[in-house]
Symmetry: C2
Subunit: 406 residues, 2 copies
C-alpha cells in the first residue's frame, strides 16, 4: 500500500490559544520522591532535586549504534539529517519571528538543548541552525545590536549513548560552550527555568518502554506474531498510543519546568495518522516481515518474535496538539506536516537503507534476538528492500511542532 | 632518598590579601580569535564565545584509562581517592566557613564543576562532599532555611576522557542535575560568571604540553636520558616550572571569568618542593628507571627515551601562591600542605601500585613507546617496586589551595 496522507499542513499551521492558566501541572503519574523537599516560594514551588516519574524504573535505553563504524549512527543517519534539513528554514523563521528575547535578562547565558541528540553530526547542524536564527534575532531586535549573549549548548541523550563519539567529533569552530547531559527526556534533566530553546529531531517517537500488555498472553493487546502496531488490533494500537500519551505528559511536564517564560520548544517527529493505514509498506513493515520470516525458518523462536515490539510510536498532529493542551504551559505556535517522499526502488540503495535502520535498531534487536543473527537479519532485510518496487521512506510525514512557554 | 619535607602547613594556612584591583586580566599569551566580538558593556566586556589561548593547539590530551578493566582509572585510583579523603573535612570546613551564599541571588541554580574529573568514582565522592558542605551552609545561614537551591554539577575533562564510563556509573540517588563538559581546563569552558564552586583533585599537575626545549638537542634544557625533571639540570626544571606557571596563568584567567563573585575554587594538587630533592625514590623515579633499563636492553630506542617526558609538574605552595597573585582575581583563603605517607615495601601491594600508575600513564606511554611493550614495561616496574624497601607514595605532599573570587 502506498501513502495516502491527506494535506494536513494548512489546518495545523495556525496558532492555538490554550485555555489553561499558567501553572506547573503535576501529572497523576508523577511521584515526588521522599528525598525531595518542596517548599513554598513566590515561584510556585521549589523542588530540591530531580523529580522521579513513578515509572522511572521503566524508562529503557535504546542507544543508537555508537562510534564511526559502518553501521554507526554517525555514518547512517542521513534520513534524520534530511528531516533536519526539511524543517531548517521553518525553524529559523519561527525563532526569528516568535522568540521573545526581550523577556530574557541581558546578562543571561542563552541555553539551548537538543534532547535525544545521539552522536552527531545531525545534532551539530540542528544546533547551528538554531544559533544562527537566535543571533539574527538579537542582531535585528536586541536593544544593543552588538551585544550577543554567550551560548551554552547541552547535548542530551540516554546515559548509554556514545557521548565519547559525540564529544570527539564536535565542530572545531563552534561559538558556544558545550555540555553533555545524560538521561532520558521522559524525566527531569535541567534546573528550573534554565533553558531558552529546546529542540529535538526524530527522537520523541521512542516511547519510554513497551507497555506490559503487549507481551501479556492474557491481554487483548498481546501483539502476537507482530513487531509493531501498524497491522495490529485496536487494543494493541491503543496500548502504544496510551504509552506515547503518558510519555508526552512527562515530557511536557518536565520541559515546562526547565524552559523560561518566552522560551521555545521545537520538535521534529516522524508522524503518522490516526487510521494507522499509512504505516503500510514502510521500512518498518519490511523489518517486521524479515523477523517473521526468520521465525518461520526457526532461526528465532516464536516466543522471541511474540515478545519483541519496536518501542516507537508515530503520533498524529492531533495527538501532539492534545498532549500540549493537557499540559497547559505552552502555546502552540505551529504544527506543520511535511510529507515523506515515496522512494522508487533502487537496488543499489537497499544496503544504505538497511544500514540506516541497523544504526538505530541493532542495539534493541541484538539485545532481544542475540548479536549472532544480526548479519543474517539485515542481509534478509536488505533483500526485501531490493525486491520492493516502491516503499515509503518514512512512516507518513515529518511533524514540526513549535511551542512557546507561557 | 626518603622524604624530608618540612612542616609548611602552618605558614601557608593564613589568608592572603591581594593588592590587585578586581579585573579580568588578559594574560599576554591569550589571543582573542578573530571570530569573537568584544563589545563594551557595564560588565567590563562581553566575549561572544570561547576565548582561545594562543597555545591552544599545543594543549595535549592525556586521558586516564577508561572503562572498568583491570588497568582502568575507575579501578585504580585509590591514591587520588585517598587525597580526596585527606582533604575532605578541610574542604567542608572552608566552604561552611567562607562561602558567601548571601551574594548569590536566591533563584540561582547552584553550579559546581570538578575539572579534570576522569571517570569516577572519586569525582562523585568529591562532589558529594562539596554538596553536603553547601547544603549545611544554606541550612545554617540561608535566609529561608527550608529553601535549598537546585544543584547542577558539571564533570569536566578532556574530550578524549571516557565520559561513557563516567555517565553510566553516576550515583543513583544523586540530588543534582548532571552535565559533562569536554575540554581542557587550560582553556575557557563555561559562560561568564556561571559557576559557584570549582573543585579539582589531582589534575592540575598535568601540564598542557611538554615544552619544546625538553626534546631539542640544541637546548640546554634537553632532557636526555631522563623522563621527568626530578634529577634533571636546572634548565630542564625551569622549562617544566615555566610551563606550569603559564598553564596556571591560563587556568586562573579562565576560572576568574567563569566563577561568580563570592564563589570558591578548591584545588587538591600533588605538591613538591622548590629544591626538587623530595622527588627522589618516588614511583616516578622507579618508572624512569624502568624505562631507562628497557632502553639499555634495546627494547626501546635511545631516541624514544630521550624524546619522552612525563607531562606533570608538582608545584610548591610558593608557586601556587605566586600564580594566584599574578592573576589578582582571587583571595587566597588557605594553602595547606598535607604530607604524603612513606610506604613500607610490601611485595603483595607492588602490583596494586603498578596498576595505579598504569591507569594514569598507559595512554601516554603506549602512544610514545607502542602498545606492545606495555605489559613488559609494567612487569619490570612492578618488580622494581617489590625490590624497593621504602618509597614515597606521592611526590612530597598534597597541596590544598582554597580561593575565593573577589
Amino acid at each position: 500500500m502506498a501513502s495516502t496522507a491527506s494535506p494536513m499542513a494548512s489546518q495545523f499551521r495556525s496558532s492555538f490559544a490554550s485555555s489553561s492558566t499558567k501553572r506547573l501541572a503535576v501529572p497523576k503519574d508523577i511521584n515526588i520522591g521522599a528525598a525531595f523537599r518542596i517548599s513554598p516560594t513566590k515561584r510556585s514551588f521549589v523542588i530540591k532535586a530531580v523529580q522521579i516519574p513513578r515509572e522511572m524504573e521503566a524508562i529503557e535505553e535504546y542507544p543508537m549504534n555508537g562510534g564511526h563504524g559502518i553501521y554507526s549512527y554517525a555514518k547512517n543517519s542521513y534520513r534524520q539529517g534530511q528531516a533536519i534539513n526539511a524543517v531548517k528554514e521553518l525553524i529559523k523563521e519561527e525563532i526569528t519571528e516568535k522568540l521573545d528575547i526581550n523577556k530574557f535578562p541581558s546578562s543571561d547565558t542563552f541555553r539551548i538543548v537538543d534532547v535525544g541528540c545521539s552522536t552527531g553530526p545531525n545534532t551539530f547542524f540542528a544546533v547551528q541552525n538554531v544559533l544562527e536564527a537566535v543571533e539574527k534575532k538579537y542582531q535585528r531586535e536586541g536593544l544593543d545590536h552588538c551585544r550577543l549573549p554567550e551560548f551554552q549548548v547541552f547535548f542530551n541523550d540516554h546515559s548509554s549513548n556514545d557521548f565519547n563519539t559525540l564529544f570527539t567529533s564536535l565542530p572545531p569552530n563552534k561559538n558556544y560552550y558545550v555540555a553533555g547531559v545524560p538521561g532520558s527526556f521522559h524525566a527531569r534533566l535541567f534546573p528550573e527555568a534554565s533553558l531558552h530553546i529546546v529542540i529535538s529531531s526524530y527522537a520523541l517517537q521512542w516511547i519510554s518502554h513497551i507497555p506490559k500488555e503487549l507481551v501479556d498472553r492474557s491481554s487483548p493487546a498481546w501483539n502476537k506474531g507482530r513487531t509493531y502496531y501498524a497491522h495490529a488490533g485496536a487494543e494493541t494500537i491503543k496500548a502504544y498510543a496510551d504509552q506515547f500519551a503518558k510519555d508526552m505528559d512527562n515530557f511536557f511536564h518536565f520541559r515546562a519546568q526547565e524552559v523560561v517564560t518566552g522560551g521555545m520548544v521545537l520538535l521534529t517527529i516522524p508522524g503518522g495518522r490516526l487510521d494507522y493505514q499509512i504505516l503500510s509498506n514502510t521500512l518498518y513493515d519490511l523489518l517486521e516481515s524479515t523477523i517473521v520470516d526468520l521465525a518461520k525458518k526457526g532461526i528465532i523462536s516464536e516466543e522471541k518474535l511474540d515478545s519483541f515490539n519496536v518501542p516507537q510510536y508515530f503520533p498524529s498532529p492531533q495527538e501532539m496538539e492534545a498532549a500540549v493542551k493537557r499540559n497547559g504551559c505552552f502555546s502552540i505556535e505551529r504544527i506543520e506536516c511535511l510529507h515523506d517522499e515515496k522512494k522508487q526502488a533502487n537496488p543499489k540503495e537497499a544496503r544504505v537503507f538497511s544500514s540506516h535502520m541497523r544504526a538505530g535498531l541493532e542495539f534493541l534487536l541484538s539485545e532481544h534476538f542475540g548479536h549472532e543473527i544480526m548479519d543474517e537479519l539485515f542481509d534478509l532485510f536488505t533483500k526485501k528492500i531490493e525486491e520492493c518496487e516502491v516503499f515509503d521512506m518514512g512512516v507518513a510525514f515529518k511533524l514540526l511542532v513549535v511551542l512557546k512557554r507561557k
